[in-house]
Symmetry: C2
Subunit: 348 residues, 2 copies
């Protein structure tokens, strides 16, 4: 293997879930040991683990931690499960993957009861299976994406959509990794991604660990890089994709798509099918999450603006489907016209 | 007057030049007292004072500080002047305004010698005149720019092109101030302007002092703001304007121009005629200054990326003339087609 290592955000060892504290990266690589569901909920609540799929996986393991081992399935174990589920569900109430992971856990518990298995073991096995599924889905989308690259390509990415965010191989980060493995990528431009610097802190750390050549750039540099012909592809993840193919992703994604179109650079999105929300007809129907102004008026916690200065902090923006060259999913590549491609893949 | 105050970067009092230490803003408002040309050179060299016109003015006062007062003009004063000029010229060797200010000082000294005046007094008067000229030129371009605004307008600006940068009324910052005074501006979106945060640190500080409503935003937010119809004008300064109207300015300016065009938002540049370099035919001929990578991998001096991570740090980008709606100068508004407008204004 050409890449050195995948930086998993979670590991289950000796009956405990170890969570990589992403708030401390890249300065410190520290693992938080969680032995109870409450501790996992705290790690989720305080953003030690972030990224929708990784949050779901953490919760799945958190459910297994409600049991000591040796218990039998039955009324008491169901009650104990629901207590843990309640604690975990309240840790980040808007994270859809959290509820999805709890529902998978509930199914696993019911199956264990029917089969007369121990709940701790069954929930642990269910969480392991979710992590394997995540890895395989990420790998498929990475391979499909990497196939679009050509030797010598230089890619630009935004925010963090790597293994740290998914607990698998990564979405946009996985595409970059697979392209590098396939000798179709020579350099990555990493948008630092203000205000929370996920690019500089997390993507750079992952690429560094993998041995993939990269340079961090200010988010405002893409225009200059493209003018000079230094960007061959843009690859990003997605928070939500509307039925018509409009893509909501970290603030700053839409300007990249506009610049890419102007400079004839392909603009790719890598995201699992679960990201597509058919209940959202188009980008205009996606509410704009406005986060704390203090994230913008500070950098790594230090004030950047005068005391009392106001700020606007939209957390994501919407890239219209017409600017998206392709969406890489675990079920195949979605090509324009995206509304038709989305309808077709979801009908399968 | 509606605005509260103009935040001058320099003041000459009691025989000394006081320089506002812009490196410490906005956390600390501290003035450095310079009594000798060497101290002014140090303030320029260490970026306590920045912005091409403000640097020129600081140097002009620095020349006056070569004399104690009471000296006569003659061979000795000329030698003393040239020593000071040498020290000041080496403080930031690429700043054109520095050499221009020294040349004005040399002329003032020669005139003083012819008229039998004291050199200290003559150089001080010459520096005062330069500052007045700067103020008047800035005011003219501000009035011309403000006339393009309409009541209720919300403007977006990038970096700092205010009074702090010019020592006068400000270029882009002056336009905003004049539009506010004329009740044609209700809100300013201030790009924080990574990596050095001149927007968050300096422009926000100036607007705050002037009482003009503003919010700081991450540089990547402009697309989201424009999509939601929250930006009516973009106003920026310029580092250099080529003969064909291509504009070099702080990194991140070009993406704003591309987004403004897509959303039908006027994109204005405010800059004195001295910014136009007829020796540069177009933007492609402007060399891209690449600054220290460490500016990108830190924020306010603290590391944002893994130790040893590389970064690219182009200091400015080039906005093609076709994306510029108008250039406000002290000699009038330059309208597209810009190559013709530039040729005409320079022929006058």
């Amino acid at each position: 293997v050409k890449s050195r290592r995948v930086t998993a955000p979670l590991r289950f060892e000796d009956g405990a879930l170890e969570v990589l504290d992403q708030r401390r990266l890249p300065a410190n690589v520290e693992w938080i040991t969680c032995r109870r569901p409450e501790e996992v909920a705290e790690a989720i609540r305080t953003l030690a683990v972030r990224g929708a799929p990784a949050i779901g996986l953490a919760a799945a393991y958190g459910l297994a931690l409600a049991f000591d081992g040796g218990e039998r399935c039955g009324e008491e174990s169901r009650a104990r499960f629901e207590d843990a589920a309640r604690v975990l569900a309240s840790s980040r109430p808007t994270a859809v993957n959290l509820f999805w992971a709890i529902e998978r856990g509930r199914e696993a518990l019911a199956a264990a009861e029917a089969a007369g298995e121990e709940p701790a073991e069954a929930l642990r096995a269910s969480a392991d299976a979710l992590m394997r599924d995540q890895w395989e889905a990420d790998r498929r989308m990475a391979e499909l994406g990497a196939a679009r690259f050509e030797p010598g390509d230089r890619a630009l990415t935004h925010c963090n959509a790597g293994a740290l965010a998914t607990g698998g191989y990564g979405t946009a980060g996985g595409v970059l990794r697979a392209a590098w493995e396939a000798d179709r990528l020579t350099h990555v431009w990493v948008d630092e991604t203000r205000p929370l610097l996920q690019g500089a802190r997390l993507t750079a750390w992952e690429l560094d660990a993998a041995g993939i050549p990269f340079q961090v750039v200010a988010d405002s540099s893409a225009g200059s890089l493209m003018t000079r012909g230094l960007v061959d592809r843009v690859v990003v993840g997605a928070d939500r994709i509307a039925a018509n193919g409009d893509v909501a992703n970290k603030i700053g994604t839409y300007p990249l798509a506009v610049l890419a179109r102007r400079h004839g650079v392909p603009f790719y999105v890598a995201a699992p099918l679960s990201t597509i929300d058919v209940g959202t007809p188009d980008g205009a129907a996606i509410p704009i999450e406005e986060r704390e102004p203090s994230e913008v008026t500070t950098a790594l916690g230090r004030p950047t603006a005068p005391a009392g200065a106001g700020a606007a902090n939209p957390a994501f923006d919407v890239t219209p489907a017409e600017l998206v060259s392709a969406i890489f999913t675990e079920a195949g590549v979605l090509e324009p016209p995206l509304p038709d491609a989305i309808r077709a893949v979801l009908a399968e």
